[in-house]
Amino acid sequence: MGKNNKMEIVFLFMLVLITVFTILSLFIIFIEGIPYIKEAFLSEEIQFSIKMSVGTATVSTGIVMFFAVPSGYILERREFFGKKLLGTILEIPLSLPYLVIGICLLTLFASDFGKTLRSMGFPVIFHRNGIVVAQTFVNLPFAISMIRSTVREIDPRLEFVAKNLGASNWYAFYSIVLGITRRSLLSIGLICWSRALGEFGATLMLVGVTRMKTETLPGSIYLNISTGNNEIAMASAILLIIIALLVQLTSKYLTKNDTAMRRRG
């Protein structure tokens, strides 16, 4: 940085300011909530919400990655009629408030379609299945967008060479695209999982928050704050912050290695 570059000094100051604000916001909860951590984790309610959150987030992340990997790949690699329109439609949820997404889902699953699903043994509204549906819907466009960026970085000629050497389309996709991007995909999956753990708005609209029934970790924070049980709410928040931090660190480690891998080809 130049000695007399006032602009950069101002920018750096702004950067430090927001970093300090972020650290303060996150760690104040640690200071306030840590004394109650043990009590919170021993409570049946928090144990239930952890299990509910981890279970639904894991299932929804599996579903998201199952659909997002092929969708992101085809959107990035191939030209076809209506591709731009399709891409735009898929990205709409990215810019919608999650409450709006929740209302959309609620309307859909309250319709005859939802009733049919219920009669087939798949209830969604006010049921944990709804949590998976909300998390999936919120994460799908995000995952597709991330996967498109990842696929964009792979030289398409690598797949061409693989097919030329005798690989089928499936095997070239598996061995080259998935082979090269495996760490990035793992990282995207982890971020989706972490986002699913923290999903609240759409879930609230679709399944509500019923104690010990559809109570996720963010739901538990909401319920405990509503009833003045701030200590337990903060303990749940600490848990979510720790998970988010671990996911961030792991994700950065994975993508660093993966980017190096793509570049060294």
């Binding site: 030289d155 000629r157 690598l158 061409f160 060479v161 693989a162 030329n164 050497l165 005798g166 690989a167 089928s168 095997y171 061995s175 080259i176 082979g179 090269i180 495996r182 891998m261 793509r262 570049r263 060294r264 080809g265």
Partner: protein
């Protein structure tokens, strides 16, 4: 000289037949191109950067499917391709890169190991088997890419500017290796190059490609003969006063 060469070439059957091929990529128009490549020859496409050489090679190799005209490759085995930047699979070791095609062709593990050993000995890279592509020099990457392609024993080998990233000494060594490949593997070789010396050194016939069109196909010895087409003369650096019978 030209006639003799052409008569010799005409004895051979075609391995590639290109009929009225055209393709538009953005503003660039490739073709129309009509050309036959004979089995067993080394054919060089010579042209400036942006002449459409790589695009034509990729068409022959099957990279694109949306083009006009017909390209026929008369071979039962896949076309072997070595791209300009080698396109080695970055997440696989040298051994795994070379074994890739063999695995696709369902060779057993022991057969694959033997073939990898044989081919790496031929290319002198058996000391690199456990290394990843990013740790290799340009010449080593080149030989690995060649070994990976030749492991599946293609009838037709396409080389896109294979020597452009190599130093002079390495180039000379690999020129010899290319001719040795032709002998050893009994295949047809198509080379894309912008280097006159390379075309003359390696090719049996040279196709001059300018602005997406094949302007002439000649024996290397006749490359610098003055033509009616001033664009070709200019590309080859043949001035007004050059002896029309100048040959290499």
């Amino acid at each position: 000289m030209i006639q003799q060469c052409e008569e010799e070439v005409d004895w051979m059957e075609d391995i590639v037949s290109i009929k009225d091929v055209r393709m538009k990529v953005g503003e660039f128009q490739l073709g129309p191109i009509d050309l036959d490549i004979k089995r067993g020859e080394v054919f060089a496409f010579l042209g400036k950067t942006g002449a459409g050489k790589t695009l034509l090679m990729e068409l022959i190799g099957g990279f694109y499917t949306h083009y006009e005209g017909t390209i026929q490759v008369f071979s039962d085995v896949p076309v072997g391709i070595v791209l300009q930047e080698y396109a080695l699979f970055p997440h696989l070791t040298v051994a795994e890169n070379i074994a890739y095609g063999l695995k696709c062709h369902h060779y057993s593990k022991s057969e694959t190991q033997k073939k990898v050993k044989d081919i790496t000995s031929f290319f002198g890279i058996n000391h690199l088997l456990g290394q990843y592509p990013d740790t290799l020099s340009g010449g080593e990457k080149q030989r690995t890419a060649l070994a990976r392609t030749m492991a599946i024993r293609p009838d037709l080998l396409l080389l896109d500017e294979p020597f452009s990233a190599l130093d002079v000494a390495t180039k000379e060594r690999i020129y010899g290796q290319i001719l040795k490949i032709k002998e050893e593997f009994d295949c047809t070789i198509v080379i894309i190059t912008h280097d006159f010396h390379e075309a003359i050194r390696l090719a049996d016939r040279v196709g001059i490609l300018l602005h997406g069109k094949v302007k002439d196909v000649v024996a290397p010895g006749e490359l610098f003969v003055r033509r009616q087409d001033n664009e070709v003369n200019e590309f080859l650096g043949i001035g007004e006063n050059v002896d029309k019978k100048r040959t290499i």
